[in-house]
């Protein structure tokens, strides 16, 4: 284990001991729910560790709430997705409706996809979805979007490049 990592671990540890309780309280006020508050407080620290850079412990509360706000936004976003998903399913004819397990699994997948697509430009997003979700060929996508196949390929590469750039490491 390198010295830098040890230090990071110690810093996170100190941050956790000093402010975990406070953060959980802050989240509980925002959410009005102790369970979710505990989960999000935990996720906040996971996120800090995932960043692999020294947290800003000079302004610990501001630092923690900045990250926690991002997670809150995710949480609320998730609720929007879930509601929309259930509405969409409710409108499906009976035989097409997925099983309860499938519903839950697909909701997870949906949230991941939604988070991924979030930062893509509209055309890039559309091309990527037509290929990856709808299974269209580049030629079909080009026809649908009124662009050449080379452009479709370019959109696909752009999509993956932004997705990679946004990834954790």
């Amino acid at each position: 284990m390198s010295a830098a990592k040890t230090t990071l671990q110690q810093t996170v540890h100190v941050l956790y001991c000093d402010h975990h309780g406070w953060l959980q309280g802050w989240l509980r006020k925002k959410l009005g729910d102790a369970h979710h508050a505990a989960d999000l407080a935990h996720d906040t620290f996971l996120r800090i560790i995932g960043r692999q850079e020294a947290p800003d412990y000079h302004e610990p509360k501001a630092y923690l709430t900045t990250i926690a706000r991002g997670l809150l936004a995710d949480h609320w976003r998730r609720q929007v997705i879930e509601r929309t998903w259930l509405e969409t399913l409710a409108a499906l004819p009976e035989p097409l409706a997925p099983s309860p397990e499938e519903k839950a699994l697909l909701l997870e997948t949906l949230c991941r996809i939604d988070a991924l697509l979030d930062k893509l430009k509209p055309k890039v997003r559309e091309a990527f979805l037509l290929s990856q979700l709808d299974g269209l060929t580049y030629r079909q996508i080009g026809e649908r979007m009124g662009v050449g196949e080379r452009m479709v390929k370019k959109y696909m590469a752009q999509a993956m490049l932004s997705l990679l750039a946004d990834d954790v490491s």
């Binding site: 990592k5 671990q9 996971l46 996120r47 560790i49 995932g50 692999q52 900045t66 706000r69 991002g70 997670l71 936004a73 995710d74 976003r77 929007v80 997705i81 929309t84 998903w85 509405e87 969409t88 399913l89 499906l92 097409l96 997925p98 499938e102 697909l106 997948t109 949906l110 949230c111 991941r112 996809i113 939604d114 988070a115 991924l116 697509l117 979030d118 930062k119 979805l129 290929s131 990856q132 979700l133 709808d134 299974g135 580049y138 030629r139 196949e149 390929k153 370019k154 696909m156 590469a157 999509a159 993956m160 490049l161 997705l163 990679l164 750039a165 946004d166 990834d167 954790v168 490491s169």
Partner: protein
């Protein structure tokens, strides 16, 4: 196609941005319906050229995975409709651009792999693995492509078959892979990922053992390419075994038959020190086993059944008393100590 394979010479100096760009271009090439055999070959060369390429590709796979899952679902259209209806608001977008929002993509796995120092994240991966065996348990799985996966005692494994890879993730413990040719054409590489590196099967039967710090591979048929996280790859051929860490691979003599025999419920001692055998046996029982130093060097030859450890481990210990000048005693702490008679 527009993606260029980096020349081997420049590979080490290629920046992260460049590797991202190359990976993104390969992604676009491979999903083109007009992808050629030649493109695929060059992509494989690119993958093999630098472990950093393989690592990035792992992330490409992880990112594509949820899309593939949704596309395969019967209700794919409902997924699409939901996504379009719930288009993202401006505020959220701003948060994201600042890097503040955002579900960790891909997700847990990547995090776990890039942070081997985080013991508890590793613990999380183990606890949430799709296939886990208890101490003393072993099981066999047939994967969707026909590959046989044997899972030894106290092991945690995930299996992820994507569009471009057949991927097995070994979090800890030991597996034996008897690979089948891919059912899809063109064939997807079959890989085993551990926190120390990636093993690529080249038509083969091999076992992998490992945890967070190090791993061991024994090859019984074909060839396995071992690519540690931060060093160049090495091919291990049939009959050889090797040890690896994140920093490198070292050949380690001939493939030990014991690394295969457990799939038949057998523990093989091929003229090994008693101490080594007891370490091996300890993997099958929760009772702490130890050897006194003056018995540790005694050599043991034999084939012992461990199909049912509750029954077999005591029987093996009794058999040891017959085979070697030792006796087994209970320790005050509740363990068992093997010492000279």
């Amino acid at each position: 196609m527009s993606a260029k394979s980096p020349r081997p010479k420049s590979a080490n100096r290629t920046g992260k941005q460049d590797i991202h760009r190359q990976a993104a271009e390969w992604f676009a090439v491979l999903h083109d319906e007009n992808v050629s055999e030649d493109d695929r070959k060059r992509w494989q060369e690119w993958l093999a050229a630098d472990p950093a390429h393989a690592r990035i590709w792992q992330r490409v796979e992880a990112i594509s995975q949820p899309f593939a899952q949704a596309a395969d679902a019967a209700s794919a259209e409902a997924v699409r409709e939901t996504l379009d209806k719930a288009r993202v608001s401006g505020r959220r977008r701003a948060l994201r651009l600042l890097g503040l929002g955002g579900v960790a993509l891909g997700t847990g796995l990547l995090l776990r792999q890039t942070l081997p120092w985080q013991a508890w994240l590793h613990g999380y991966a183990v606890a949430h693995a799709a296939y886990r065996t208890r101490i003393g348990e072993h099981r066999q799985l047939k994967l969707p492509d026909g590959t046989l996966l044997a899972i030894n005692t106290a092991t945690a494994v995930d299996v992820e078959f994507g569009r471009e890879l057949r991927r097995i993730v070994l979090h800890e413990g030991e597996i034996l892979v008897d690979s089948a040719p891919d059912t899809q054409s063109p064939a997807r590489p079959l890989v085993v990922d551990t926190s120390c590196g990636r093993l690529t099967a080249l038509g083969t039967r091999f076992s992998v053992r490992g945890g967070r710090q190090s791993g061991q591979v024994a090859v019984f048929e074909g060839r396995v390419r071992v690519a540690p996280v931060s060093s160049g790859p090495l091919d291990v051929v049939a009959g050889q075994q090797a040890r690896f860490t994140a920093a490198g691979v070292d050949l380690d003599g001939r493939a030990d038959p014991a690394r295969e025999s457990w799939t038949r419920g057998q523990l093989i001692a091929d003229n090994i020190p008693l101490a080594d055998f007891i370490v091996e046996l300890s993997r099958y029982t929760t009772v702490p086993l130890s050897v006194s130093p003056d018995a540790a060097h005694l050599r043991l030859v034999g084939v012992y059944p461990v199909a049912d450890p509750d029954r077999d481990v005591p029987a093996i210990l009794a058999a040891l008393e017959g085979a070697l000048p030792v006796r087994v005693q209970r320790t005050p702490a509740g363990g068992l100590l093997i010492s000279p008679r």
